[in-house]
C-alpha cells in the first residue's frame, strides 16, 4: 500500500496546484484542471447515497425489527448477499439497459447515481443490519415498558445507537462510489462538459483517470487526478471518523 501511495503521490503531487482543482479540463484533459470531474464525482456520489442509504437502512430495519426470521427475510438477505458478489460491470450493464435505454434517462447523473445506489445497497444493508443487531435487547424492553411503540423504539433508541455502524457502512459506500469506473462509463457517460442538471452526462475523477491513462492522453494529468482522488478519500475518511468519535463520546 505504501508503495502504491508513494508512486502515485510522487508523480501526482507536483501537478496539484490550486488551478488544477479549479480549472475545467481543456484539450481532452491534456491541459487545464479537473474541476468538472470533481463536480461530477460529488453529484454522482450524492445521488447514490441519497437513494441508496435510506433504502438500505430501511431494509435493514425491516429485516431486524419488523419481520421474524422467515422465508421472506431469508430470501431478501440471500438476495442482498448475491448482489454483493456481482461484478460492477454487470451493474453497469443493467444500469445501461434499464435506466439509460429503457427508462430513457440517457447517460446522466441520475442513471449513474441510481446504478451506484443499487451497487452499494448490499454494503449498506449488511452493515446497518449488523449494527442494529448489536443494540441490546434491554433498550427495546425499556422502550416498551415505558409505553413506547415499535416505531418510537426504532427512531429514538435503535437508530441513534446503531448510527456509528450505519455511518461506517455509508462511508464504505462513498469510497466505492468514488472509485467506481466501469459501471459509470456505461451509465453516466464520460463527458467533460460541466453538468447543468441531473440529466447531464458527466465524467467522474476515476473515469477521467482511467481515460487519461488508457488512451495515453497525459500521464502527468492522470497522476495528478489519482493523487487528488486519494487525498479526497483520505479527507472524507478522516472527517467522518472524527464525526463518529464525537458522536460516540457525546453519548457515553
Amino acid at each position: 500500500m505504501i508503495l502504491i501511495l508513494f508512486q502515485i503521490l510522487k508523480e501526482g503531487l507536483p501537478v496539484l496546484q490550486l488551478h488544477f482543482f479549479l480549472d475545467s479540463p481543456k484539450n481532452m484533459g491534456r491541459d487545464g484542471g479537473i474541476f468538472s470531474t470533481i463536480i461530477g464525482t460529488a453529484a454522482l456520489t450524492a445521488v447514490a447515497i441519497i437513494v441508496g442509504a435510506p433504502l438500505g437502512v430501511g431494509t435493514a430495519i425491516f429485516l431486524r425489527e419488523y419481520t421474524r426470521e422467515s422465508k421472506t427475510s431469508r430470501m431478501i438477505r440471500f438476495g442482498t448477499d448475491c448482489l454483493a458478489g456481482v461484478p460492477s460491470i454487470i451493474f453497469g450493464l443493467f444500469g445501461f439497459v434499464f435506466f439509460v435505454i429503457r427508462l430513457n434517462m440517457g447517460w446522466s447523473i441520475l442513471s449513474g447515481g441510481l446504478t451506484l445506489a443499487a451497487m452499494i445497497l448490499p454494503t449498506v444493508i449488511s452493515t446497518a443490519e449488523e449494527s442494529i443487531n448489536a443494540v441490546p435487547y434491554s433498550y427495546r424492553e425499556v422502550n416498551y415498558s415505558l409505553g413506547g411503540t415499535k416505531w418510537q423504539m426504532v427512531t429514538r433508541v435503535v437508530l441513534p445507537s446503531a448510527l456509528p455502524g450505519i455511518f461506517t457502512g455509508i462511508l464504505l459506500s462513498i469510497g466505492r462510489s468514488i472509485g467506481e469506473t466501469a459501471a459509470i462509463i456505461l451509465t453516466a457517460g464520460s463527458s467533460l462538459v460541466m453538468p447543468t442538471s441531473l440529466f447531464s452526462p458527466i465524467r467522474t475523477m476515476s473515469v477521467h483517470f482511467y481515460i487519461l491513462a488508457r488512451e495515453g492522453i497525459s500521464m502527468k494529468m492522470a497522476y495528478g487526478t489519482g493523487a487528488a482522488l486519494i487525498l479526497l478519500v483520505l479527507i472524507i475518511n478522516i472527517l467522518a471518523q472524527g464525526l463518529i468519535n464525537r458522536y460516540i463520546r457525546h453519548r457515553t
Binding site: 425499556v142 416498551y144 409505553g147 413506547g148 441513534p160
Partner: protein, 253 residues
C-alpha cells in the same frame, strides 16, 4: 375478589410454546403495599411480573388462560391500549438499563413518547421524578451528562425515576438490587418504602432477607405455582406450607 384490590390475578396459566410456566395463579395486590413474590430461580416470578403489564406479549409463541384485572379492567381485553396500560403499570428490571443518552433524556423518555407534557413542564416532571427516586441531590448539577457514567446504584434509581416520570399507579420491580452493593441496596429500599405511600408495589427481592424486610404481604412461588400467600410476618415466621418453611429456613433454594 376482595374490596379495594388494585390488581387481581385470576386462574392465570401461562405457557411458553408448550412449556407451562405459571399454574393456576390467583392473587390480589392491594394499593399502598409492597407485595413480594419470592421463590427459587425459574419458579415463574418474572413471568408473573411481566404479565402484569403485558411485556410477555414480546415473547413469540407464548399464550395464557385466565386473566388479570387492573382496577376491575381486564388487561387482556383486545380493546386495551397497551401504551396506556404500560404507563399505568411501570416496570424496573433486574439489571440497571439506562438508555445511552443523558440523565435528563432518560427520565424524559417516557413523557416525551406520549407528548402529554409541554416542554416547560418537562423539566419539572424530571426533577420531581428524580426527587422521588432519591437521586436528585446526586445528579442535579450534571443532568446533561450521559447516564452510562452513573454508578450501578444510581443507574437503578434512575430507572425508577424514569418510571415515576410517567406517574404510574403500579410499580413492578424485578430484583432491582441484584447487581448492587449493600449501600446502594439500602438507598433503593428506602426509596421503595417512601414510594409505597403513593403506589402499589410488586417486588421480586433478590434474597429472602430483603423479602422479609420490605414486604407487607408475600407470596411464595415454586415451579410456577403459588404455594402460599399471606401477610409477610406470617409467611416468613409461621408458614403454613411445609415447602415454604423449608425454603424460608434455607433447607433448599
Amino acid at each position: 375478589m376482595s374490596q379495594g384490590s388494585k390488581i387481581v390475578i385470576k386462574d392465570f396459566n401461562f405457557y411458553y410454546e408448550s412449556v407451562q410456566v405459571l399454574r393456576n395463579i390467583t392473587i390480589d395486590f392491594q394499593p399502598n403495599q409492597i407485595f413480594t413474590i419470592f421463590g427459587p430461580a425459574r419458579s415463574g416470578k418474572t413471568t408473573v411480573l411481566k404479565s402484569l403489564n403485558r411485556l410477555t406479549d414480546l415473547f413469540f409463541g407464548s399464550s395464557h388462560t385466565g386473566t388479570i384485572f387492573l382496577d376491575g379492567m381486564d388487561i387482556y381485553d383486545p380493546k386495551v391500549n397497551l401504551t396506556h396500560l404500560r404507563r399505568r403499570v411501570g416496570m424496573v428490571f433486574d439489571l440497571p438499563t439506562p438508555l445511552p443518552m443523558s440523565i435528563f433524556d432518560n427520565v424524559a423518555y417516557g413523557p416525551r413518547l406520549n407528548k402529554l407534557i409541554q416542554r416547560r413542564r418537562l423539566s419539572e416532571t424530571v426533577e420531581k421524578a428524580l426527587k422521588s427516586a432519591v437521586l436528585w441531590e446526586e445528579v442535579k448539577d450534571r443532568l446533561n451528562t450521559s447516564a452510562l457514567r452513573l454508578s450501578g446504584g444510581q443507574q437503578q434509581r434512575l430507572c425508577i425515576a424514569r418510571i415515576l416520570a410517567l406517574e404510574p399507579e403500579v410499580l413492578l420491580l424485578d430484583e432491582p438490587c441484584s447487581g448492587l452493593d449493600p449501600i446502594s441496596t439500602a438507598s433503593i429500599e428506602e426509596t421503595l418504602t417512601k414510594l409505597k405511600e403513593n403506589y402499589t408495589i410488586v417486588l421480586i427481592p433478590h434474597n429472602i432477607q430483603q423479602a422479609s424486610r420490605m414486604a407487607d404481604r408475600a407470596g411464595f412461588f415454586l415451579n410456577g405455582e403459588l404455594v402460599e400467600e399471606g401477610p409477610a410476618y406470617q409467611v416468613f415466621t409461621r408458614p403454613k406450607d411445609k415447602r415454604t418453611e423449608d425454603y424460608v429456613t434455607g433447607k433448599f433454594g
